[in-house]
């Protein structure tokens, strides 16, 4: 095909053969690791890669004549769930090809996905277990690490109780790893187990679940292709979820769709909108009520939908009436006319969908924001149909799965509560005595006038959110509502720089007795401080080095294969947690039903058998039908699924009629072959085609009004009105219990004991109730109304409340933050802080509103991506975006150094100025992926040699400030104040 220039070849034959001889010696795994890892470790210790010369490839190209294995994994960088197709030769990952067959990414990637192969080059990876001894990093063996950590944990447990140890898990775990981590915490005896959902969408999960039943994206990225109107609010998907834009921009083009972007910042997403609306950070509720004001005033609401399927909309209507265009403009900065246009479009050009991200969730009013968004959808009837819905773009690659699997301080796997019922359910699945768990939890003494808690009560009390762990370490023991302060952090795959008040985080880290970081990289947990002793770094493998399943934002579950064995001495999460359990003495019980396979360092639990255990207990959320076999069949048949509906044709072998990835809920046992649910609450299709309706989980009536749907049910349901969740009692009343098989009935009777009637769709381990109910066309959880008013939450009708550090102190009297309260074992003194800020005149001395967010090149705390040379090159400096007018006033030039100072802890950060119109006057933006600098000083020396990320920078969360959502403990990451001056 190509024409080679003959003269060019002839002249160099000798050189050519010499080079070829050198290089075509096939690269095996051992020499690859030698070349790429340990030897190269110090290459860029000074912080800049030897700029320029063409270095010879470390991992090499495809090797001539060596067989190529194709392995499919999933990108580990966001929730879209792009398939990664790897080419492996001799155990080395030598190439990456487009994954054309995936209906999610169709071959494409973003900067991160296109560079994941670098993660197993591993130049900057942690290579073996290390600990800090007298201030020096020393290499230790895995066995020594486990035994030292185990001994210390047992000692802490004796002296300070199980709650003195915090288990901070990861949204980068597989589902199986997440589940294992939650199970580990349960066996250890604490509810202080959390992961990144706390700081990204915990308020979404709480807000959405409290509105209509489940805390997840209702539709899918692909389904947005159907939307005629799209609102992004506090979501910069073009940077955070780039591949989703493939579907959104295609949809926009095909449907001539209206795309509104609400954001304080003109983002790359806004650049592709049909209308950009600049708003003030932290005024989401006022904006939404402002939109709904126009909807109700003009009768654009979907009254039939509201009547049949929504409870309490009148109370919301009354609140919206107060939000006149003038009042909205005063609070949000958005002209009333503009919102009228948005309102009319959203309500009349349907289907319409609403997308939000951390711009909405990371606020002291995060949960209320989310409920306001849901209300807009409910009022316009934009839920439960193609092209509609709350399209919540989750963050990490498995943050949805980790949330589902209960890596959370306030529930057990699959949203079973910390109630006795929840614990008994999982005890039954795990075949471990309920009382064993009770015995593992601490007794909490009475403190500072608060009542004591028994072990069982403590077992039902939510733990400490990951945003507040350092408060639990630093506060006086009397102030912390558990047996003792927090003394140890076990951090598995979680950055440390992602929560505000970093100066206090640093103090908290220094006060700990034990810090264990299990991660491919040291993270800022290891580098922020210089603890001389008691810090352990354990090299975890990435998800490319193990197998398992992960759940995308749209609830599709994808099974992924190991691409290469864990590199260096790194180990899988499964093995590490198994070994910890062994060291702590409960491995036998914990893994009694789990099949062990031979791993890199010995036996480790198999991902398949862990998933089967999840299936056995996952009834409440429909994690019961996705067997490993079915998921593997989906990955093998990706090309069968439709791009828009995500459904395979009925006659496709192995996956016929399924939705891609069996998006939960996938009811019943795998044998029932439920296809999964592409669109939640979609009553236009049969439950066996993924249909559903809102979930009645808040009782049957309130104030004399029914909470069940009125006069409507999903297609094919034998009950044509609202109905409650199914229990044996309901089944018997309907006479459907006769449809149960003898086996199912005997399981139900066995587990029901004295109260067989109480066995329900969510606790029946046989799956019989779900099967029978669906045969009658009904949805196992019932048919209820969504709630516009969540009476069990603070501000049942969401109320606008000013950020704690607001640039508008004049509005605080009318819209104060909530009163101080004790939440999650620690005090929340937001109100006191807000008043103090006004008294001290903070808005005058710190006049710029600071918000934070994502860069496309980096992810989360950023250690992994800042260590990836292909990504690091693209963003080499931490920066602050500042408006040209603000910059001019301060003598700041584009690219120059500036100091950003914050109102707490005398915080200051030295960063580069990016002078741009992206931010309005009086606003600034900083990305949150940087760490490794602290108040102008590089901390490169705190990393073990060769593990420092290529790019370091100041943490935005040095500057961000106090503020916590009362429902979930979510931090205020998007609205605070700062000052900027030229450095």
């Amino acid at each position: 095909m190509l024409v080679k220039r003959k003269s060019g070849q002839a002249g160099r034959s000798r050189l050519q053969s010499a080079v070829a001889g050198l290089a075509s010696a096939t690269l095996d795994r051992r020499s690859f690791l030698k070349r790429s890892g340990l030897a190269v470790g110090g290459l860029a210790a000074a912080g800049t890669l030897g700029a320029g010369t063409v270095r010879k490839a470390a991992a090499g190209p495809m090797m001539e004549g060596v067989e190529v294995d194709i392995r499919k994994n999933i990108c580990t960088h966001c929730s879209v769930g792009c398939t990664v197709t790897a080419e492996v030769q001799n155990g080395v990952w030598t190439g990456q090809e487009p994954s054309w067959n995936s209906p999610i990414n169709r071959g494409t990637h973003c900067a991160k996905g296109a560079s994941v192969r670098e993660l197993v080059h591993g130049d900057r990876r942690l290579k073996y277990p290390m600990k800090r001894q007298n201030g020096e990093w020393v290499r230790i063996s895995w066995d020594d690490a486990f035994s030292e950590i185990g001994q210390k944990l047992v000692e802490l447990r004796e002296n300070s109780g199980a709650d003195s140890v915090y288990w901070l898990g990861s949204a980068k775990f597989s589902n199986e790893g997440s589940y294992l981590c939650r199970k580990l915490a349960a066996f250890w005896g604490t509810n202080s187990v959390d992961h990144q959902a706390r700081i990204c969408h915990s308020t979404t999960v709480a807000g959405v679940a409290n509105t209509w039943g489940y805390g997840a994206m209702t539709n899918s990225y692909n389904d947005i292709r159907n939307s005629k109107t799209v609102i992004f609010m506090g979501s910069n998907a073009a940077e955070a979820h780039p591949v989703s834009l493939q579907h959104i921009l295609s949809g926009k083009e095909q449907q001539q769709a209206n795309v509104f972007v609400f954001d304080p910042r003109f983002t790359r997403t806004a650049a592709h909108a049909t209308e950009y609306v600049r708003m003030r950070s932290g005024t989401d509720i006022a904006v939404i009520w402002g939109i709904m004001h126009h909807i109700f005033a003009n009768g654009w609401e979907d009254q039939d939908f509201i009547d049949a399927r929504v409870f309490g909309m009148d109370e919301v209507r009354a609140e919206c009436e107060k939000w006149t265009p003038e009042r909205v403009e005063n609070v949000t900065g958005i002209p009333g006319e503009q919102l009228r246009r948005v309102a009319e479009t959203f309500a009349t050009q349907k289907p319409a969908t609403f997308i939000w991200c951390m711009g909405g969730t990371q606020h002291t009013v995060g949960t209320a924001n989310v409920r306001a968004y849901c209300n807009l959808l409910l009022a316009t009837g934009n839920v439960g149909k193609a092209g509609t819905g709350a399209n919540i773009f989750r963050g990490h690659c498995n943050v949805q799965g980790a949330t589902d699997l209960g890596l959370d301080i306030s529930n057990l796997p699959l949203y079973y509560g910390l109630t006795e019922g929840g614990w008994r359910h999982w005890s039954r699945v795990w075949e471990v005595d309920y009382d064993y768990f009770v015995s593992r939890f601490d007794e909490v003494p009475a403190k500072a006038g608060r009542e004591a808690r028994t072990r069982e009560q403590n077992m039902q009390t939510p733990g400490i959110p990951s945003t507040r762990w350092f408060d639990a370490t630093l506060l006086d023991a009397e102030e912390v509502d558990q047996r003792d302060n927090l003394k140890a952090m076990i951090v598995l795959g979680h950055g440390g720089n992602t929560v505000p008040r970093q100066p206090e985080v640093k103090a908290g880290l220094e006060a700990l007795e034990l810090l264990v970081v299990v991660d491919p990289h040291p993270t800022s947990f290891a580098s922020l401080h210089a603890r001389p002793d008691g810090t352990y770094l354990l090299p975890a493998a990435t998800q490319f080095e193990c197998n398992g399943s992960r759940t995308c934002s749209n609830r599709s579950i994808q099974w992924y294969e190991k691409i290469v064995d864990p590199i260096f001495e790194s180990a899988t999460d499964y093995w590490i947690m198994y070994r910890l359990a062994q060291e702590l003495g409960f491995a036998e019980e914990m893994f009694k039903n789990i099949e062990m396979v031979e791993g890199k360092f010995g036996p480790e639990p198999s991902a398949e058998s862990l998933l089967r255990e999840i299936n056995r207990g996952g009834w409440s959320t429909g994690y019961c039908g996705q067997s490993p076999e079915r998921l593997k069949a989906h990955m093998a048949n990706q090309d069968k699924f439709d791009l828009v509906t995500l459904r395979a044709p009925a006659d496709a072998p192995d996956v016929g009629g399924d939705f891609y990835g069996l998006p939960w809920p996938c009811w019943g046992t795998p044998e029932v072959r439920h296809p999964g649910t592409h669109i939640l609450y979609n009553s236009e299709v049969h439950v066996m085609d993924g249909g559903g309706n809102f979930r009645p989980r808040f009782g049957l009536e309130r104030d004399g009004v029914t909470l069940l749907a009125e006069g409507t049910s999903s297609v094919g349901a034998e009950l044509d009105d609202g109905y409650p969740e199914f229990t044996m009692a309901v089944l018997r009343e309907l006479g459907w219990d006769g449809d149960l098989t003898a086996e199912e009935l005997s399981q139900i009777e066995r587990q029901g004991g004295d109260d067989v009637d109480a066995v329900s769709w969510s606790t029946d381990l046989s799956g019989g109730i779900q099967r029978v109910v669906m045969e009658h066309g009904c949805v196992p959880f019932g048919n209820g109304k969504a709630r516009a008013v969540a009476w069990n939450l603070p501000d049942p009708v969401p109320q606008h409340r000013e950020p704690i550090y607001t640039p508008r102190p004049d509005l605080v009297a009318e819209f104060p933050t909530r009163d101080d309260a004790r939440e999650f074992r620690v005090p929340n003194i937001g109100h006191t802080v807000q008043q103090a800020a006004i008294d001290k005149g903070i808005p005058e001395s710190f006049p710029i509103v600071l918000t934070s967010g994502r860069l496309v090149e980096y992810e989360g705390g950023g250690e992994e991506t800042r260590s990836n040379r292909w990504l690091a090159e693209l963003q080499q400096d931490m920066f602050v975006e500042i408006n040209p007018a603000d910059a001019a006033e301060r003598g700041i030039t584009d690219g120059g150094w500036v100091w950003v100072t914050g109102p707490e802890n005398d915080s200051r950060a030295r960063v580069k100025a990016l002078v741009t119109e992206r931010v309005g006057k009086g606003a600034a933006f900083m990305p949150f992926h940087f760490a490794g600098w602290y108040q102008g000083e590089s901390q490169r020396g705190n990393y073990p040699e060769g593990t420092d990320p290529i790019v370091l920078g100041e943490m935005v969360n040095q500057i961000t400030t106090y503020g916590y959502d009362p429902v979930t403990g979510m931090h205020e990451g998007k609205a605070t104040l700062c000052q900027i001056e030229a450095a």
């Binding site: 190509l2 220039r5 002249g11 070829a20 290089a23 190209p61 990637h109 296109a114 693209l874």
Partner: protein, 198 residues
């Protein structure tokens, strides 16, 4: 024979830089060498558009015409390639190039340049196809395997198109007709002395 071209649909490009890292990944391009890059015009203003740019493989390539050692050649697919064995790192092609494609590792004194490196349209170089020798100098040769450049194949929003000029022009034309807007086939006029009329 096909006439290979690139086309960046700026109304789709979201500056996600997948093209940039896909290129780095496929060819192990070292730090400081940017065979492809994304430029954002009117940053922060309504009307902002991003364009992914690399060697456009021009018709009558100006780099080839200024090269003092005549190290460029054009393949039958109209891909403009060069020989690193002949290149003397003079930098002329950088100044002739309307797209800033040629890149040079910094070697030696006086800021003098090493051998020029640029986008090969994933078509390697003068060495035999798909050999280590070719890979180490120029990167992978996907075209010889019947594959298109990885940057375009991995583009998150399918903004960057690669392939025969007539085919990708047709794809672009259809898009513009469907959606009703298009900011132009960036660089085509300069590279190919033609543009896509819709």
């Amino acid at each position: 024979m096909a006439r290979m071209k690139f086309l960046c649909d700026a109304d789709r490009c979201i500056e996600c830089n997948a093209c940039v890292t896909a290129c780095k990944n496929e060819h192990e391009v070292p730090w400081g060498i940017n065979r492809r890059r994304v430029v954002t015009i009117n940053d922060g203003l309504p009307g902002e558009r991003s364009v992914s740019m690399a060697c456009m493989h021009c018709t009558d390539a100006p780099c080839a015409s200024v090269c003092p050692v005549d190290c460029f050649y054009t393949t039958a697919d109209a891909v403009v390639l060069h020989s690193k064995d002949l290149c003397i790192g003079c930098g002329y092609c950088f100044y002739a190039c309307p797209f800033g494609a040629p890149q040079y590792p910094k070697v030696g004194n006086f800021g003098s340049r090493g051998k020029m490196d640029k986008c090969t349209y994933c078509a390697g170089g003068p060495e035999a196809d798909m050999t280590m020798a070719e890979y180490e100098k120029y990167g992978a040769n996907r075209l010889a395997e019947g594959k298109l450049p990885l940057c375009a194949e991995m583009c998150s929003t399918k903004a960057l198109l690669a392939g025969d000029g007539e085919i990708i022009a047709e794809i672009y034309r259809e898009r513009v007709t469907t959606r009703g807007y298009g900011s132009g086939a960036w660089g085509w006029q300069t590279a190919y002395q033609e543009t896509i009329n819709v």
